[in-house]
């Protein structure tokens, strides 16, 4: 072969071996890799779900915090009288929120909704539908998180072009009504697209329906009860806050219809004949028939985010290795279930031989959501008291108190020593301010040695069937026909029955009772705050208000316990500001987009 030929062949050979310049970077995962496989979509989904505004153990509503934070004890219940927060936080300026503005998450959901269909060729079409349903569910959830805070917000349905002109990007706010309608549409589509069942932590048809019943109930209430608030303010005039009254029934009907969808699919938890234990377990049993949608936690060594600190923060001081008693229930929330009898008919404190003797007098749910002195927990009796009477008890006698659980009183005559405030203590910091402790969600199976920060893995029930029944009852009652009212009674009584409470009769059932039942059942679940807002009763109910505590004392002379009711330790006064039915649009956002104006009323 001639050299020239070799050369030619070599040149041709080399050219034909040329690589294309179209080489995707191996370290960046592309849309194709995400959208064209189930595991890729699942990875995308985990990110959408992890950003849902679920107000759970790791939710803090103020400042620059938000979701997934450590300080779970800055929840909403401190503003509704459900519990008193430790120490320095007594009355809370709740007006500013933390500037929730989840448009990044919304963009991710929008992007998914827009792009998944492009890759649907190689995918199972039912899966594609289901995934779209999940993305719609998540998007609706983000918008619901927004609308319940701000009223009307800009609705962005498709990812915007970064290079679009500023005027295009400065999207004005939609009306509050429009946002709820958008949520309704998304959820309705999700209900259609989603399958009947799903992995826990992911949405199915009924999860979407449950959320819809909640959201539409909000919309209906705002239409009905918000009609007269903020009248004439710029935001109200253009419909950024408030919904026309005539829409109310439509929304209530939607709420009702969505709730009815779940009938027969989920059931109130009723596995233990012991009503107290049943109600305690309801919140800890992952397999509960009542769980519709949970946010789950699991112990992952290297992922702190996969765990939380509920037990460490809120257990009585003697049952945790750090903190303790961060949130302590008020007597007020407890007495929504019925008055606790601590005095005899003459007004004298009842003498109890043991602290635990009081427990027998409590309603099952009352006892199941809060720890009272003397309850057995983590293998020990909760030892707490406000002080001891070393002298003969009279109404005016002064008890001996302490600031630390270490302080001991030694009775000189008998030589016996008494820990003045018990092992868990009452007072400031890590001690209870109300004589009570959180019990709902508390993992009683966790051994004391494990009770530390970031060690808890119990799930949070974001949507449970009891709430759906309460939504249904409320919507039905608001719709107002006799038939509907009868349905409402059925649902409320189902809850009371499971709770071990006396059932209501038709006549006893009022909208107020329905609301109270909701507050009882959903106590500490970060719902009441929103409920009080949508009912527009918060400013009347919480006006220079103080909450009460249960003070246990030991009478040395008698060897008995007594309980006194009095204002909680801080004696803090709470007022719901008139502007607080809405949060202000996050300040920085108005600077970037003046079209968000007018701001919400009174801001």
């Amino acid at each position: 072969m001639k050299i020239k030929n070799i050369f030619t062949i070599a040149v041709i050979g080399i050219f034909s071996a040329c690589d294309s310049l179209d080489v995707p970077p191996p370290s960046i995962i592309t849309d194709a890799e995400i959208f064209s496989s189930e595991s890729g979509v699942t990875a995308y989904m985990t990110s959408l779900y992890s950003e849902l505004p679920i107000e759970d153990f790791k939710y803090r509503r103020d400042g620059d915090k938000g979701f997934n934070v450590f300080e779970s004890f800055f929840g909403l219940g401190i503003n509704t009288g459900e519990y008193i927060q430790a120490d320095y936080v007594r009355n809370w300026d709740v007006s500013s929120g933390f500037g929730y503005w989840p448009y990044k998450s919304i963009r991710n959901a929008n992007y998914f909704i827009e792009n998944l269909p492009k890759y649907s060729d190689g995918l199972d079409s039912t899966m594609v539908k289901s995934w779209l349903g999940e993305a719609l569910f998540c998007r609706a959830y983000y918008y619901f998180g927004l609308v319940k805070r701000y009223g009307g917000v800009p609705i962005i349905k498709i990812p915007q072009d970064v290079h679009a002109s500023l005027s295009e990007l400065q999207v004005p706010r939609n009306k509050e009504e429009e946002v709820y309608d958008f949520i309704s549409e998304d959820l309705q589509m999700a209900i259609e697209y989603l399958p009947e069942t799903s992995a826990t932590g992911r949405a199915n048809k009924y999860v979407a329906a449950a959320l819809k019943s909640r959201a539409m109930l909000f919309a209906g209430s705002i239409a009905k009860y918000g009609a007269n608030s903020y009248t004439g303010t710029p935001a109200q005039v253009v419909g950024l806050v408030g919904i026309p009254l005539e829409r109310a029934n439509d929304y209530f009907q939607q709420s009702y219809d969505a709730a009815v969808l779940l009938e027969g699919k989920y059931h109130l938890y009723n596995t233990n004949t012991d009503k107290v234990q049943n109600y305690v377990d309801l919140f800890l049993d992952k397999a509960s028939t009542e769980n519709i949608f949970i946010k789950d936690y699991v112990y992952m060594d290297n992922v702190e985010d996969s765990r939380h600190s509920w037990d460490a923060l809120n257990s009585p001081r003697q049952m945790t290795n750090t903190y303790g008693s961060c949130m302590t229930p008020t007597l007020d929330i407890i007495e929504l279930f019925g008055e606790i009898k601590v005095n005899d008919d003459n007004g004298q404190p009842i003498r109890f031989d043991k602290r635990s003797d009081l427990l027998a007098t409590l309603a099952p749910r009352q006892r199941a959501i809060a720890f009272f002195p003397g309850e057995v927990f983590r293998g020990a009796e909760i030892d707490v008291q406000a002080g001891i009477y070393t002298t003969t008890y009279t109404a005016t006698a002064v008890p001996r108190t302490a600031t630390s659980t270490l302080q001991v009183y030694k009775d000189k005559t008998t030589g016996k020593e008494y820990r003045i405030m018990g092992l868990s203590g009452m007072g400031s910091s890590d001690y209870t301010r109300t004589g009570l402790f959180m019990r709902k969600y508390m993992n009683y199976k966790m051994p004391l040695t494990d009770v530390n920060l970031w060690k808890s893995t119990q799930h949070w029930i974001d949507l449970r069937y009891a709430e759906v029944l309460l939504n249904r009852a409320e919507a039905a009652y608001e719709l107002g026909t006799d038939e509907m009212k009868a349905d409402a009674l059925t649902q409320i009584n189902a809850i009371r029955e499971r709770g071990g409470d006396k059932l209501f009769t038709t006549n006893e059932l009022t909208i107020e009772e329905i609301r109270l039942e909701r507050r009882r059942e959903l106590a500490f679940e970060n719902q009441t705050w929103w409920d009080l807002r949508r009912w527009r009763i918060a400013d009347k109910e919480i006006y220079d208000h103080q909450y009460n505590a249960l003070y246990p004392y030991y009478l040395i002379k008698e060897g008995k316990y007594i309980f006194k009711k009095d204002l909680e330790f801080h004696k803090a006064r709470y007022t719901f500001g008139l502007q607080q039915y809405y949060e202000p649009i996050p300040g920085g956002e108005i600077g970037k987009n003046p079209n968000l104006l007018p701001n919400n009323p009174l801001y």
Partner: protein, 1045 residues
């Protein structure tokens, strides 16, 4: 004498061919009779010696003769004919018959320098007709410095190349290296971009060229920071058909320089007492008792207790370094070869020698002529190196030995079997011992190969095609064995040693990475001359490359004392990869270049390169055009033919302009996508990894655009007695990446991507002065160079300042970069009276001040020294002005070479223990004994009558004793005798008897002498890298020889 570069031998081949052609023309076409006359002439050299055998031809005619033994010639010509006289080694001369005097024609020798060939991108050029700013050094110039790192062997020798050696740690190759302050240059070894420059064996390098201006533009989008071209040796031999076997050996001893050490027990206790007294709060009313009393001092003074010398415990006075190299070099009729094997061993300055570096280099360069028209070049080289580091790194040792108290016993109960508790650290004696604490070993291997075929296209003179294919493979294999280690404390009560275990559990970690790079170049090259006046050169090249990287790592805890992964525990084991090391890039490029010169007088060059890369958005191609031109005034007749200007051998003015790119910051910002894993959710009780959404893509993102401009002049006078070069250069970069300052509504849900918005400008000057001469038997030469370069931001995306002060303080636009802001120091208070008289508040109402403390200029005149008094006081980072000078001399086989190198406009600031004695109440460096203190150690610091003894540093006890502003930020200008070499080459006469071809012996020193205003610490020692705990520089003494068989 400088050797013509072998790589580009074809150039000389063509030249030789044209010479033969010329010669045959003379012989084959003898004179023909026309209307002509016989003219005679004589040719002489400058010394008046007649030249025998010179060619004399009549231009444009086929007439020519050769001069006879008397230098005379006769030939027929008519008036007006042009005679061209040529002779090997001499410059051609042209004369006009009837006009010029032919009786004594003096021809001059060719200037070696101008004849030199310089390697440029994808080719070579004669230095004389070069239009770009290219500096080159040869092997000989480079090897006058003996060092393990090629970069350090270039220091001070190449104008515009800035080299800072930050550490001499074996195997760390810790330097900053740039050209004209432009940033990391592209390094090309034998035509292929490669990363092993620092680790090459100096014996295999033929030359290094540095392309500083638009001459780099043929490298397109990688060329913005200049290019370093390294050419390895080719086979040749002293005698045809014979091969040379050369063995070189170098032995060096290293000694740390500018390395401060901790003070002794007396010093420590003295300073501790002073620190306590310095505390105003605790001593103002009543004096605190001293930390150490007389008995403590006496114990050490009497020898009852011995001060612990932690530095001496770990540092050796002398660390050896050896280098061997064996090369075989030969050329035959059709084949030439160069083989080299090199070995380097460098031991660190720790006593155990467990910090060390080993390197093997090998190379085989083979050139073969296959047929008349086809040649091939094969180059294969490899490097295998091993760095043995100590676990935790050397900096921990320096930090530790500065930190340990001299009053603490090195061994518990003075028993060497029981190393004591070294506060906060692993005991230094254990830490430097691999047997005790394990090791951190990195093995790297490079295998680089290229094959080129060169085909001379028949029938078209000067045209040849070349195909080059190269494949490089590198792997990096790191193994770290961290071993649990015991330290002891002695309990005299029951005569027992308590054990405390550190670094537990033992752990073994491995990481492994591979990189491959392949490139293919197809080129057409053309070179020809027409009418002896028009010289053309052309290049058209297609290049394609693929680079890939991959890696992984794993680590496991060990229960057994076996340093292998398999022996590890499942629990807590880790296996993962570094995502940045996983890549694949493909590039394609087309390069074209044309050179033209008219009679080597008017020179122009134009080039372009188109780059495509998989890192660019589809369809994006970067164009890099460049143009340069030169004028050799010395070739004009008004100089050349003017005898009064005959001292001008060369005078060239040249300029270049090019537009190149820099794709370094491109990292797929035009792509959307996801990173994984990131966060997650729990589904069905199992944690599922989530993804991170990448920022919004910028589809318009592109490389930085660099416009480089250079203008220079090259002058050679009196045949080398004086030469100089002057260059002015600037580089305008635009499209530097930054975030646009545009607040978009949050509802967009995305952050803006980076955009090509910022601009900067780098400019500077370079000057080189050379002198060479021969006086009697002494030949000597001098070359000095200096360069200055600075960079200024021309546009920077920044928030508008709220007021004019803020603008002055923060605005970066039109400002030089790397500016250090600080207070302007005035002095140290000499007495209480001075403190009292100072009306300016230097902090705390001057209440806490004592003599020796610093005071500053109240620049804004508000009576308080604070943030507002700061102004630009120094430059940061690499020195602004660099200079170097070499002096070489030779006398009868003895050669001497000195390299001076230095820098100015360079500043340094120290932190932690280099600034603060007794930091964290640990020991102080001995240098801080040079401090202000009271004459009477027991005196009250706050009593105005106390007598003070001055020192360099402020009194101990108030944090840093170096003050701030201009006191702390110190001028680190220096000049040093970087290397000195004295060699002796055994005369040929003697050698011939031994049968050896040549032999040379030398002694050499590196970093021998440093002149600097900086006290105690080496000026190149960085103040900020690893808080100043970085391994020091060394002074090295070498002896060695080269023998050729």
């Amino acid at each position: 004498m400088k050797k013509q570069n072998n790589l580009f031998k074809w150039i000389s081949y063509i030249k030789r061919m044209s010479f033969i052609f010329l010669l045959s023309a003379v012989i084959l076409f003898p004179l023909s009779a026309q209307t002509k006359k016989n003219i005679t002439g004589m040719i002489l050299d400058v010394n008046g010696n007649s030249i025998i055998g010179a060619n004399v031809i009549v231009k444009g005619k086929k007439t020519g003769v050769i001069t006879g033994i008397d230098g005379k010639f006769i030939l027929e010509a008519v008036n007006g004919d042009r005679l061209i006289i040529s002779y090997i080694g001499f410059q051609n001369k042209e004369l006009i018959v009837g006009k010029d005097n032919l009786s004594k024609i003096v021809i001059v020798e060719k200037d070696e320098l101008l004849d030199e060939v310089v390697v440029v991108g994808y080719g070579s050029q004669k230095k004389a007709t070069l239009t770009g700013a290219v500096s080159a050094i040869t092997n000989k110039e480079m090897t006058t410095t003996k060092n393990e790192n090629i970069m350090n062997m270039m220091t001070g020798k190449v104008p515009g190349v800035r080299v800072v050696q930050k550490s001499a740690e074996p195997g760390s190759f810790n330097n900053t290296f740039d050209i004209r302050g432009l940033g990391n240059p592209l390094v090309i070894i034998d035509g292929v971009p490669r990363d092993n420059f620092t680790r090459m064996d100096p014996n295999e390098i033929e030359s290094i060229s540095v392309l500083k201006d638009a001459s780099a533009a043929v490298f397109g989008v990688k060329a913005a920071n200049g290019v370093v071209l390294i050419t390895t040796k080719k086979g040749n031999s002293s005698k045809k058909g014979k091969f040379d076997l050369t063995y070189s050996y170098n032995y060096g001893g290293q000694k740390a320089i500018g390395l401060p050490l901790g003070t002794d027990a007396i010093g420590y206790m003295t300073l501790m007492n002073e620190k306590r007294k310095r505390n105003f709060q605790n001593n103002y009313i009543t004096q605190q008792p001293p930390a150490f009393n007389n008995a403590d001092f006496e114990a050490f003074q009497s020898g009852e207790r011995i001060s612990s010398d932690w530095g001496d415990l770990v540092l050796s006075k002398f660390a050896p370094q050896t280098q061997h190299s064996l090369s075989m070099n030969g050329a035959g009729e059709n084949i030439s070869y160069f083989f080299n094997v090199g070995y380097l061993n460098q031991v660190g300055i720790f006593k155990t020698g467990d910090l060390n570096y080993n390197k093997w280099n090998y190379r085989a360069n083979i050139d073969a002529k296959i047929t008349k028209n086809l040649r091939t070049e094969l180059k294969v080289s490899g490097i295998m190196d091993t760095k043995n580091d100590i676990v935790g790194g050397s900096w921990n040792i320096f930090k530790s030995i500065w930190n340990q108290l001299p009053t603490d016993a090195i061994y518990a109960n003075q028993n060497p079997s029981y190393p004591g508790l070294a506060s906060g650290f692993i005991h230094p004696a254990l830490a430097i011992n691999a047997d005790e604490t394990g090791y951190n070993r990195t093995n790297q291997k490079w295998l680089q190969s290229s094959l080129a075929m060169i085909y001379d296209v028949p029938y078209i003179k000067g045209l040849y095609a070349k195909v080059l294919y190269s494949y490089d493979y590198k792997n990096s294999d790191n193994k770290q064995y961290s071993k649990a280690v015991s330290q002891y404390s002695y309990d005299p009560a029951d005569d027992t040693y308590d054990i405390s275990i550190l670094n537990s559990p033992s752990k073994v970690s491995r990481s492994y990475g591979t990189n491959t790079f392949s490139t293919m170049q197809l080129s057409l090259n053309y070179e020809n001359s027409f009418s002896d006046a028009h010289n053309f050169k052309g290049l058209l090249l297609f290049e394609e490359s693929v680079s890939e990287g991959d890696n992984f790592y794993a680590s496991r805890e060990l229960s057994l004392d076996i340093d292998q992964l398999y022996a590890g525990n499942d629990k807590n084991q880790i296996g993962n990869m570094n995502i940045d090391g996983l890549y694949k890039y493909v590039t394609k490029s087309i390069v074209g270049r044309v050179n033209y010169d008219y009679k080597s007088k008017y020179l122009v060059e134009a080039s372009f390169r188109y780059d495509g890369s998989s890192r660019f958005k589809a369809g994006q191609w970067a164009l890099a055009p460049a143009f340069s031109a030169g004028w050799r005034a010395s070739e004009e007749s008004f100089i050349k033919d003017n005898s009064s200007l005959s001292f001008i051998n060369n005078l060239k003015i040249r300029t270049s302009y090019g537009v190149v790119g820099d794709d370094n910051a491109l990292n797929y910002q035009f792509l959307t996508g996801y990173e994984y894993p990131y966060g997650g959710s729990v589904f069905d009780g199992t944690f599922v990894n989530g993804i991170k959404f990448k920022d919004v893509a910028n589809p318009d993102i592109t490389w930085f655009t660099s416009k480089t401009f250079d203008v220079g002049v090259d002058v050679d006078l009196w045949k080398g007695l004086l030469g100089f070069q002057l260059d002015f250069f600037q580089r305008n970069r635009s499209g530097l990446l930054t975030d646009r300052l545009r607040s978009l509504p949050g509802t967009l849900g995305a952050a803006l991507p980076q955009e090509n918005l910022n601009r900067d400008l780098t400019l500077g000057y370079e000057i080189v002065v050379t002198h060479k001469n021969k006086i009697g038997d002494v030949t000597y030469n001098f070359s000095g160079n200096m360069s200055i370069t600075r960079t200024m931001m021309k546009y920077i995306e920044q928030a508008k300042a709220g007021n004019s002060y803020e603008n002055w303080r923060n605005n970066q636009t039109d400002r030089y970069t790397n500016i250090w802001w600080g207070l302007t120091g005035i002095g140290q208070y000499q007495s209480y009276q001075e403190i009292y008289n100072n009306q300016v508040n230097n902090g705390g109402g001057n209440q806490n001040l004592i003599p020796g403390d610093y005071y500053y200029e109240d620049w804004n005149g508000d009576g308080v020294i604070d943030e507002w008094d700061k102004r630009p006081i120094a430059t940061k980072a690499t020195p602004t002005i660099n200079f170097g000078a070499t002096v070489g001399a030779e006398y009868k086989g003895i050669d001497l070479n000195l390299l001076f190198q230095g820098a100015t406009m360079v500043y340094v600031q120290y932190q932690e223990q280099l600034a603060e004695p007794l930091a964290w109440d640990r020991n102080a460096l001995a240098l801080f004994m040079d401090r202000w203190h009271t004459e009477d150690p027991d005196a009250d610091y706050f009593d105005p009558n106390t007598k003070w003894i001055s020192g360099t540093f402020a009194a101990v006890g108030n944090g840093s004793v170096r003050g701030s502003g201009t006191f702390a930020i110190q001028d680190a200008s220096y000049i040093r005798l970087k290397s000195a070499e004295l060699g002796y080459t055994i005369p040929k006469k003697i050698m011939n008897k031994t049968g050896l071809t040549s032999a040379r012996f030398y002694i050499n020193g590196y970093n021998l002498l440093t002149l600097t205003g900086l006290k105690y610490i080496d000026p190149e020692h960085p103040g900020d890298e690893l808080y100043g705990y970085i391994y020091p520089l060394v002074k090295t003494f070498n002896v060695g020889f080269n023998v050729t068989f």
